[in-house]
Symmetry: C2
Subunit: 294 residues, 2 copies
């Protein structure tokens, strides 16, 4: 869905190719183009294939798969498009490492939409994508890419150091996704309720506090307070349905390893106790096990 939003918009200001997993997806895109509806409304011509060799080498490859498909995506790019920079747009931490040896931009996005079909995506939440250079990648590239995204009609912002934003979103995501996955609640006002000793907002608050202690030990000054992000989101009344809860409903593998798992491993490395995130990590893994055959 994020990949389609980028392709559908960027195709208006530059040449866009789409590397698909399925042949019929590539065929449909080549035949019909990619329709964007919602906040914008048009059809963008794109060139699509399932083999990178059939597509022209791009300047930038945007990798916006779920983390559970990241390794497969990296394997398909291996040996192709050697000069292309890669922009990773994933939840969690560590996606950049799958593209070692290339110039890499890290990105987190807050935009969202709904994928209606192989050739139709609806643009719903028009919030920003934040990006920054990873490793030796020059900051200029982040600025250039952010400017191109903005020119295409989406919102973006370049940061010299993305980690403060990335960590804010990591702590927010680790907390909200795991709590939603375990309770079955969308991101609703229960996540901010703290009156009764048994209110869920107290757990959410404590999870955020644990996450902040890890960020501090990692030397990261957070861009936004994840607790405030949480309260604001629940008060918007949108009852956002977190992607991990969608995965649980569909009995799909979740992104728990790359979100909460990544946070717990960072905490262990830094010697910061995170008993609550660790508990949620184990519970969501248990939940995944519940729909595995014995």
């Amino acid at each position: 869905m994020i990949g389609s939003l980028f392709a559908g918009h960027l195709g208006r200001v530059c040449e866009v190719s789409v590397l698909c997993r399925r042949d019929e997806h590539a065929r449909a895109l080549n035949e019909h183009g990619l329709r964007v509806s919602g906040r914008h409304d048009y059809v963008t011509r794109v060139r699509a294939a399932t083999d990178p060799a059939e597509l022209p080498e791009p300047e930038l490859a945007i990798v916006a798969t779920k983390t559970t498909e990241l390794d497969a995506a990296a394997a398909r790019l291996a040996g192709h498009w050697d000069a292309a920079a890669v922009m990773t747009v994933q939840n969690g931490l560590g996606a950049e490492e799958a593209f070692a040896g290339r110039p890499v931009l890290s990105a987190v996005t807050f935009m969202s939409g709904t994928r209606h079909s192989d050739t139709h995506v609806e643009y719903i939440l028009d919030t920003e994508t934040w990006l920054g250079p990873y490793g030796e990648t020059p900051y200029d590239l982040a600025e250039e890419v952010a400017a191109t995204i903005v020119a295409s009609g989406l919102k973006a912002r370049a940061f010299a150091d993305l980690r403060p934003a990335q960590w804010s979103k990591l702590i927010f995501n680790a907390t909200v996704n795991a709590v939603a996955a375990l309770t079955g609640l969308p991101h609703d006002p229960h996540f901010a309720a703290r009156e009764h000793p048994g209110d869920l907002g107290r757990l959410v608050f404590d999870l955020v506090e644990e996450g902040k202690r890890v960020a501090e030990a990692a030397g990261v000054e957070l861009h936004e307070d994840p607790w405030e992000m949480n309260v604001l989101a629940t008060h918007r009344g949108s009852r956002h349905y977190p992607s991990m809860l969608e995965d649980v409903d569909a009995h799909r593998p979740t992104e728990i390893e790359h979100i909460t798992g990544a946070l717990v491993r960072e905490a262990t490395r830094l010697g910061v106790p995170v008993p609550l995130h660790t508990a949620l990590y184990r519970l969501v893994r248990g939940k995944e096990a519940s729909w595995q055959p014995d």
Copy 2:
């Protein structure tokens, strides 16, 4: 189900009345009796009604409702059968307090079965019921009741102090029920697995440790180690389906307040931190909220 197992067996050695909630249940029992199948097989005559005034005053009233229906049961007995002792057979802590002013026996049971209809219960797991005097109740009464239960064909054991057994079961129940309710797993080998840092058995172990610290602060020396109870049960290969998971599947209120909630409140009173049980308490309450209308 527990109440039916008691009635179906005790009716063979003494006069048994059944106080029902529903008229058709009472009518069916009066007409057909109560069938026990499984480990035993016979039909027991019982006298049933929905109003205690229509039943002879018993020497002992066995209250084996779920904790979520305990207050309603106590309200229906109020003003009736003033000389009768009460035996409470509930998960959690504190059921005895609903019957202040009467002689009370505390009991925990490990037997189980399946309720097939209003007049048919299957006796499956023939494990013991443990009982002991509560407050000023004399121990002799516990011994007498245990002997009667044994004479009826069930297994029972009287304790001068039930708390060591009650707390062992409380810690076991608080841990296994909440973890099962949140993960969707029956009580299977995942609950004892501790190899990987994300393995669920590690959380189960830590939950049991928290519970033991509360018991210790309460001056209770546990009758059995809840971790060993857990490992034994998962190795029996029975994949027991905890009642709280059944409640979650059916979108019914769970016993979380009387099990984990009771443990968390005792811990608070005693000044013992129980962050993991508190987290599970809030998550299960959140899960209950997920099937409430807004």
